[in-house]
């Protein structure tokens, strides 16, 4: 599983790329999440100017098999949304960590960054998940 080391993560499978001064961030959905969701057909993203709060629902992603909420990884104000992804949500499947970013935001409280997961923390969560899935498979 692809988990870039220059990003921060959440347990709900969002990734965060911080700017050098840690004042702004780009948010997306992890490669793991896009693969679990399968073909993404629709995104409902926040609007530029919206105030979002860490841990609360701020967007919806719909795939051919499910509709899932996206949680704000940090608090702050939305400064840009990815119009290309709105026009063609498949870009999230194709390039989750790159062209498939969802929105950019200005941080309200940089201290919240500490709450995010590092790439190794996130990888650990994914491997735990994988072994759980395997156990379930065996039970079946």
């Amino acid at each position: 599983m692809n988990v870039p080391s220059d990003l921060k993560y959440t347990e709900s499978h969002e990734w965060v790329k911080l700017s050098k001064d840690k004042a702004t961030a780009t948010v997306g959905l992890t490669d793991f999440a896009q693969e679990e969701l399968t073909d993404i057909v629709y995104l409902d993203l926040p609007k530029v100017g919206d105030e979002i709060e860490a841990g609360t629902e701020c967007a919806v992603v719909e795939s051919v098999k499910a509709a899932s909420d996206i949680y704000a990884p940090l608090s702050g104000q939305v400064t840009e949304v990815n119009q290309a992804a709105l026009d063609d949500p498949a870009v999230v499947n194709e390039d989750a960590f790159g062209k498939g970013w969802l929105f950019k935001m200005k941080l309200a409280d940089p201290a919240e960054i500490e709450e995010l997961l590092s790439d190794s923390d996130y990888e650990e969560i994914l491997s735990e998940k994988e072994s759980q899935d395997e156990d379930e498979e065996e039970e079946k």
Binding site: Y42, D44, E62, S63, A66, A67, D69
Partner: protein
Amino acid sequence: MDYIPNTEADLSAMLREIGVASFDELVAAIPASLRQFKMELPAAMSESELQRELGAMAARNTPLDALTSFLGAGAYEHFIPSAIDHLVSRGELYTAYTPYQAEASQGTLQLLYEYQSLICALTGMDVSNASLYDGGTTVGESAYLALNAHPKRNRIVISSAVHPEYRQILKTYTAGMDVQIVELPTRDGLTDLDALAATVNENTAAVLLQSPNFFGCIEPMQRAGEMIKSKGAWFVAVVNPISLGVIKPPGEYGADLAIGEGQPLGIPVAYGGPYVGFLTSSKQLIHKISGRIVGRSVDTEGREAFCLTLQAREQHIRREKATSNICSNQSLMALRTAIFLSLLGKRGMREIAELNLRRSHQAAGAISRVPGFALKFPRAPFFNEFVVTCPAPAQTICDRLERDGILAGLPLGRFDAAMERDLLVCVTETKSTANIERLAEALGRAASQKV
């Protein structure tokens, strides 16, 4: 579906399998007092006796077609081509169930797709769902939809010229929710636009207006819509589908949702229904729209195929975040409206609407020439309904005309005591010039009658 009762042999075989001696033993766990329920029924009758008995009971009803009716107010008498009854009673259409298995339901799905396409063409809107239960349901559902699509707003504004029963349903739908319902006053039969401007704010999720409204008057939808949209609220238009043959459709004056009662399109007037509700929206709300939608697609071999689509909106996928808990529709009645619209076509819809317009204006003229009677809102444009102020309580006038086999209209005193003398009269294409003259004469006689 056949009803196949169990035989004595079936029953004893089942009891033997369970291991009890009798049915009473099987239900012995239920307290005896609850098992002593006894229905006081008369002795059984033969089929012919029963037919006579029920026939005699039914004959005590007066069917609508035995009277000359000028009743409207949400349920309208229109011509129903007999082809509709013949087509919908075909077995494969009459019994078709929920089309979740697309591969086994192509016929039903295609019919609903045609229904949606026809309703979109009629309303000028982008998307139609596959129908809801009735006009009232569409009012409640559109409020849910508006709130869901504006999660930070909690005010719904509705004109008091919207059908009083629809307003009641809206209150029932939103009871217990953190939602504020604000009703707008009317002026000369139309929604007060100054009050509209003063009431719609940044917290308003939607504004619901009906046109023609409950009093039959055609609202200035274009202007109202501009005021509503300037505050970012959704503009919900409740419309009479027959009127769209001559009145500008909601899609052309910027409505975000166009909804209403589909009964005028080929469904008989009946106490308690079944009726059908149509709910349409602009493309912008397609991921929030309530109810099911049928889409046209291709199968694995590239052939045209129909399926339920955009189901991520619905409660079986989006669970508690779904707009609506309705996952069903009113298929058979939607089919009636689709056949009605297909039989009439674009020109037919225009002709029937023009006929309604002509006959109602003819009647309004004839009634206002009767001494003591006057149009209540003479300046407001109307379609096939209008309010008449009577020289006596409207209920009294109606009671007198009923003895002559005429239902003169709906007395409005039951909704508003200040309107005790007001009568809502509806004239559709089913009323001839002779019917209209007879109504005017009867009103004149009723007004001069001593109590």
